[in-house]
């Protein structure tokens, strides 16, 4: 199933899964190497950008017509999220929040929208894409947060912001000093250990931040595919199970996509908030 051209007969279960888990890359072929910066996942970029635009467009529409009088339903919904983010950021970050609070709002809305792509039928958009492109084995993955690049890209953004706010609050000297002097103590012979631990800490924070969201959404997507495979058996119990289990998992997934968006936002705030406080 490497090129997506040889299977004329119905794909086997494993072929179906592998096909669904392969990205539409800029080369049009499956990425072979683990890390290859000459390629980009076109599907992830397009859908994450589209979801990002949808999220900020909805918020921008509300912001344009916002009234301090009686709010409409859309405004009330956005206000609910804004106030949630505002209160959380106020509690976590002590300092100038003029960028951090909007950032947290963006992260929550964007991640939520990207996660919500998981609620679409697993074969829906890929089928449409295959019809449009004329290639019946074209790859397409529609959930940007089920792509490690998508989540690690955002986690990298948070890492850069951690550095930025550390330097902004403590100054370059203060930050470097903290890297060497904390957490074990300001002794020459402890400097290597301090630095090593700090590097591990920053790496662990960023990678776990990206991996957590990726893992949850990837697993969720995979389970939707497995449920879809139930229906592919085309027996009455297979179809029945697909409908019943699919409904249950989809309803449960509403919780997961919201929760993961919230967790990503909260950890973004916590990590940036930690940059505001010295050891």
């Amino acid at each position: 199933m490497a090129t997506g051209h040889e299977a004329v007969a119905a794909p086997s279960a494993s072929e179906y899964i592998v096909h669904h888990l392969t990205h539409l890359t800029s080369s049009g072929h499956k990425q072979e190497k683990i890390i290859d910066f000459s390629l980009a996942n076109v599907d992830t970029l397009i859908f994450s950008l589209a979801m990002g635009l949808a999220a900020i467009l909805i918020m921008a529409i509300v912001a344009r017509k916002v009234t301090s009088g009686v709010p409409g339903r859309l405004q009330a919904a956005i206000e609910f999220v804004v106030e949630m983010v505002e209160s959380q950021s106020k509690a976590i970050v002590h300092g100038d929040r003029s960028f951090i609070a909007p950032l947290a709002l963006t992260v929550f809305m964007w991640v939520f929208f990207m996660n919500a792509m998981d609620m679409l039928p697993v074969d829906g958009l890929p089928l449409i894409w295959q019809t449009i492109s004329g290639d019946h084995h074209a790859y397409l993955r529609v959930v940007p947060t089920a792509d490690l690049n998508g989540t690690l890209g955002m986690a990298m953004g948070v890492l850069l912001l951690m550095f930025w706010y550390n330097i902004k609050i403590k100054g370059i000297g203060g930050f470097v000093h903290e890297l060497f002097a904390a957490p074990f103590g300001d002794k020459i012979f402890l400097y290597p250990f301090n630095l090593l631990l700090n590097i591990i800490e920053f790496a662990a924070k960023s990678i776990s931040l990206g991996m957590r969201l990726f893992g949850n959404m990837y697993a969720g997507e995979l389970i939707f595919m497995l449920i879809a495979l139930l229906g592919a058996t085309a027996t009455w119990w297979g179809l029945g199970l697909q409908v019943a289990v699919g409904a249950i998992w989809a309803i449960f997934h509403i919780l997961i996509i919201t929760l993961q968006a919230f967790i990503f936002m909260m950890l973004t705030l916590v990590y940036i908030g930690q940059a505001h406080e010295g050891h």
Binding site: S38, S48, S68, E86, L105, G157
Partner: protein
């Protein structure tokens, strides 16, 4: 699960979206929220003020009612007093008029009795003179004996 340049694309989008939100979404919504919070605070304060004003007004209404009732009582008492005074005066006036009338009647009666007595006396004197004339015939001259006759009239 492979890493590629998508990472950096996502990183760029991350900052652009956050910048957009900071610039165009967050400030107006926060402003509206703060304004509404202010309005609600003002409304609550106004409601409190109105409540205390209402209590104050109710107290004043009770006070005014009490005053009105008091003045009404006063007016009634005054009117009753004046009424009774008028009745007393009228009674006194009536008594005075009755007395006057009685006195006038008594006076008139006394004058009439006096006059009747004097007329009677004159009549008796005339009769006495006539009787004496008849007795004395020409011997008594009315001009000569006028003093005598007047004395006689006074004795009667």
């Amino acid at each position: 699960m492979n890493l590629n340049a998508t990472l950096f694309g996502q990183l760029g989008v991350f900052f652009v979206l956050a910048w957009f939100t900071m610039k165009f979404v967050w400030p107006p919504i926060m402003k509206a929220l703060d304004e509404r919070a202010g309005k609600i605070a003002d409304g609550l304060a106004a409601a409190d003020k109105a409540k205390s004003e209402l209590a104050h007004t109710e107290k004043r209404v009770v006070e005014e009612m009490r005053k009105a009732r008091e003045s009404a009582t006063e007016v009634r008492a005054g009117a009753e007093k004046q009424g009774s005074q008028l009745i007393d005066e009228a009674r006194l006036e009536a008594a005075r008029i009755i007395n006057q009338a009685r006195e006038a009647a008594e006076g008139e009666a006394a004058v009439a009795a006096q006059r009747a007595r004097e007329e009677l006396r004159e009549e008796v004197a005339k009769l006495a003179v006539a009787g004496a004339e008849r007795i004395l015939r020409r011997e008594i001259n009315p001009q000569v004996h006028a003093e005598l006759l007047a004395n006689l009239k006074a004795e009667l």
